[in-house]
Symmetry: C2
Subunit: 214 residues, 2 copies
């Protein structure tokens, strides 16, 4: 999986991780794409054993429950997706350009984790039941909206977006449209929806939100 | 469940359905909310037996597989959602007003089926695996986009939306934004995202798409 080494090393709590810690990280990295593709319910012990090459006892020595492993796998998937996309955004660019690049990164690159956007997957599966996973997905969405909101606010502060605009509302619309388009992309296996949403959001930034527009 | 009687009667193939046909419909109606809440993988035989009051043999006399039952349940859930929302749209209103009402119906009413939007749920669960369910979800999304597209085209034809607009693209943006907001609504258990998207789409219809705008 792309950038997983980088993420694994980030996840390491120490410079010199113990064998147990490394095994735990390996299990998370191996389980992560399976949970993302099959979902929490759909991911069986046999799947986890096949992916990790470990027996049940070898896996659950490191996790108190399937839920704890799924939660760690979700965080891992989000971090892989986020960092892969963030690498495509020039942090030194003006805020409006960073917004555009963030949208493009989502559309062009999408989630490098097999199975599509982990937030969408986990949100949809956990909304009726699993409180732990739902809390993780909720935190991840809020983090994403918050990052976009900060860019919108920077753009407002620098006069690239007009002052009256509500940064949180704009960020929410951007994230909602991208997530809906990601669902269509996964379902239809083409980029049509993502491209339409990308163009729509570009026009939104360039016209409705632009200074001097009504 | 809301309007289920109406949908059940619509689903009946004949005026005088057989006992077997009625039992089949009852099983679909009883299983539908469970599949929508728990997903295909998460819905167990015990769940289906509890919901229908039937034993395994009594259920699977009418369906060749869990997949066949899940597909019928999905169609049922979509029909319940669609007809409940369609009832909130004045079919005699001008097309731009019908578009607005369709957006409001989604936001205000949302899916009357417990568990949220059946299309979103089924799309996310089936995108990596189940071909039968994925095909149903894909058809449902295309049907929804098609209905919105027809309204946009009517609005273009009646001069309420400017001629250069691509009706399919607009419909795709509307559906994507609503579905993404529905995901946020289910996750956060508040209407903030839906309301922001609603206002955004209203402005989109009234400004960017309006005749006389650039």
């Amino acid at each position: 999986m792309i950038v997983s080494d980088q993420v694994v090393s980030k996840m390491a709590k120490s410079e010199n991780p113990s064998k147990g810690e490394l095994t735990r990280q390996m299990i998370v990295a191996a389980a992560a794409p399976i949970f993302n593709q099959k979902g929490y319910e759909g991911c069986s012990l046999a799947d986890l054993m096949a992916a990790t090459g470990l027996q049940k006892g070898g896996i659950y020595r490191h996790f108190s429950s399937k839920e704890e492993l799924a939660a760690a796998a979700f965080d891992y998937n989000c971090e892989v997706s986020r960092s892969a996309r963030m690498a495509l955004v020039d942090q030194a660019a003006p805020p409006l350009e960073r917004l555009r690049q963030s949208i493009a990164a989502f559309v062009d690159y999408r989630s490098p984790v097999p199975g599509g956007c982990p937030i969408l997957n986990t949100a949809v599966e956990s909304d009726d039941g699993n409180g732990v996973l739902r809390a993780r997905a909720s935190k991840a969405v809020r983090g994403w909206v918050g990052r976009i909101q900060a860019m919108v606010q920077d753009a407002i502060d620098q006069g690239q977006i007009r002052k009256e605009v509500d940064a949180k509302s704009v960020a929410t619309v951007i994230v909602a449209a991208l997530e809906g388009a990601a669902m269509m992309n996964r379902l239809e296996r083409n980029e049509y929806g993502l491209r339409q949403v990308q163009q729509h959001l570009y026009r939104y930034l360039d016209s409705e939100l632009a200074p001097g527009e009504k």
